[in-house]
């Protein structure tokens, strides 16, 4: 049970119960959808970017606690940030979740997002935590999905969904 308390920390449970920035922005100029078909996680991100800065951001969808809390905390963390800084956080979050970045040993900008470090020991849950970040990456880079009007991401069958864009 203690391992589980490590993963399902109060912060995560709280964001799951009361997700922040939940909903959608009507006049959004960036948006993307992410799916994890394995567990039915589904995230829709909408945001406004101007002068290279994320002015507003919101998410909606269905997901497990890890995915919802990750999306909720992500929106809080990147709101008001420059796009390039958000991209750095995407990389760092992905590194932490897949175990290549030690958030306590290496420099990073993750701050409170460190509560997700526990997912690295649960391969089946890494995708849940990363999905919102992967979706954010797609929303910030519409050129990555030139054939789709609506950038859409799937994490089916990939341990590390972001890397195929790297």
């Amino acid at each position: 049970m203690s391992d589980m308390r490590q993963l399902y920390q109060e912060v995560i449970l709280d964001h799951n119960r009361k997700p922040r920035n939940f909903g959608s922005i009507l006049a959004a100029n960036r948006h993307a959808e992410g799916h994890n078909p394995l567990c039915g996680d589904h995230i829709k991100l909408t945001m406004n970017v101007s002068d290279n800065k994320i002015e507003t951001i919101a998410f909606e969808g269905e997901g497990c606690a890890i995915c919802k809390a990750s999306a909720s905390m992500m929106t809080g963390a990147v709101k008001g940030k420059l796009v390039q800084d958000a991209e750095i956080m995407i990389e760092e979050f992905r590194g932490m979740a897949t175990g290549t970045l030690d958030p306590d040993g290496q420099d990073n900008h993750l701050g409170r997002l460190k509560v997700f470090v526990g997912v690295k020991d649960l391969p089946s849950r890494v995708k849940c935590a990363i999905l919102p970040w992967h979706t954010l990456h797609a929303a910030l880079n519409p050129a990555l999905n030139p054939t789709q009007a609506e950038p859409s991401i799937s994490t089916e069958g990939e341990a590390d969904p972001v890397s195929d864009h790297a």
Binding site: M1, D3, M4, R5, L7, Y8, L13, N16, P37, L38, C39, G40, D41, H42, E62, G63, C64, A65, I66, C67, K68, L122, S124, R125, C128
Partner: protein, 414 residues
């Protein structure tokens, strides 16, 4: 039935459990509680030994050479076919085709029968309970041919609506593809009645038996189904082997599925003459070891008795249903009057994936997700469910652990 009154000593459960080495495993520092049998079952020592024996002293390619090993392997492979024949009560061994699994068996029928006999405007009936394996191939065929899929709806308990089923038939109906037992909900369909009705309209029927064959006696002649498919790995056998039963009359008029060695009588660059059934449908070197191991798994299950297995699992399911439905905030999805050993459930306010992770911490293995049956999830308006599925080697104590686990989840998310 009250759980206290259940008779659990129909067979010696401790002896049965001792046959399965993996059940002694520790997971997360706790004894493994394996409740994911609908996804894949575990293998008894007798089958493991059979595999070792085959690879140690019997392996060769089959049907191809006159040497000792080839003749031995060929004989054993064909003996496995006869075991499957008797297991399904098929009339003839040549009606048994080895495939890679249920999925490949259904695809074989789609290609061999569907592409030859289903055309533009024809209708294929499926049920709302189907696994993707019994939806997607038919959808591909419908797309290719311009045929139409019609779906049998179900009620809130997860039972097919038989009146609506009957109303779907018309002169365009050409095929019925139906699951015997639902993997997502456990519903046992009244297949015998449904097959008889389809036959009155001249419509052949394929049964997806992936979740039925491991849990109850199956008699394809009594059911009178035209095709029956199941997978070895859900039946205490290995992965990579499955079975398609087909009535000889139909198999003979079907087109081959794949082309290659073993499925031919003669080949020139002008013309190939296909082999007789079942070889016509077994192109290339088959999974010989897996087929022989499946035969051993069938021997093992026969030793316990499928009727005993069915009765014991029914007791487990009744016990689990009673215990889990007594919990507040837990909804059982799939409450058909006739069910096999599957318990799909939802814990209020907790996503199934989180349930699975937390139970795993107590060594409990369940499946969470859509169970490859997304239309079923849509019907019940859930993205996914948690599913405990039982086998004859599970115990009441394990169900008690599941119940304790569910309470822990609720506590954590309260």
């Amino acid at each position: 039935m009250k759980a206290e009154n259940l008779n659990f000593d129909r067979f010696d459960i401790e002896k049965v459990r001792a046959d399965f080495p993996i059940l002694g495993l520790q997971v997360s520092g706790k004894p493994l509680v394996y409740l994911d049998n609908a996804a894949s079952s575990q293998m008894p020592q007798a089958v493991i030994d059979r595999i070792v024996q085959y690879q140690t002293a019997e392996h060769s390619n089959i049907h191809r050479a006159v040497h000792y090993l080839s003749e031995l392997a060929t004989r054993e492979y064909e003996e496995a076919r006869v075991k499957v024949q008797h297991f399904l009560k098929a009339q003839e061994a040549r009606e048994i085709i080895f495939t890679r699994g249920t999925t490949e068996a259904i695809n074989l029928v789609m290609h061999g029968y569907g592409r030859a006999f289903i055309g533009k405007g024809d209708e294929i009936i499926l049920s709302g309970l189907e696994h993707h394996a019994n939806i997607v191939p038919w959808q591909m065929l419908a797309q290719e041919k311009g045929a139409i899929l019609r779906v049998i709806p179900m009620n809130d308990a997860g039972e097919l609506l038989i009146d609506e089923f009957e109303a779907l038939f018309n002169e365009k109906t050409k095929f019925l593809a139906l699951t015997h037992v639902s993997n997502a909900l456990g519903t046992v369909n009244p297949v015998k009645k449904m097959i008889a009705f389809a036959h009155r309209h001249g419509v052949p029927v394929l049964l997806d038996g992936a979740q039925a064959a491991p849990h109850q006696p199956v008699d394809v002649q009594d059911l009178d189904c035209d095709f029956y498919a199941f997978s070895g790995h859900k039946l205490c056998g290995p992965t990579g082997i499955g079975v398609l039963y087909g009535k000889a009359k139909l198999l003979e008029k079907m087109q081959p599925f794949q082309g290659g060695g073993d499925m031919i009588l003669s080949v020139t660059f002008e013309k190939t003459t296909y082999n007789v059934i079942p070889s016509k449908f077994e192109a290339g070197t088959p999974p010989i070891m897996a087929a022989i191991a499946l035969g051993a798994a069938i021997d093992y299950l026969n030793g316990i008795g499928l009727a005993n297995i069915e009765a014991y699992e029914k007791q487990l399911l009744d016990y689990a249903t009673e215990k889990v439905s007594a919990l507040n905030g837990v909804r059982i999805i799939g409450t058909a009057a006739k069910k096999a050993a599957v318990l799909s459930f939802e814990i209020k306010g907790v996503h199934p994936h989180d349930v699975g992770t937390i139970l795993n911490d107590d060594g409990i293995a369940i499946r969470t997700g859509h169970h490859c049956a997304q239309p079923v999830m849509q019907r019940f308006h859930v993205p996914a469910t948690a599913r405990a599925s039982f086998a004859f080697y599970n115990t009441r104590q394990e169900i008690d652990k599941l119940v304790v686990g569910i309470r822990k989840v609720q506590e954590m998310f309260s």
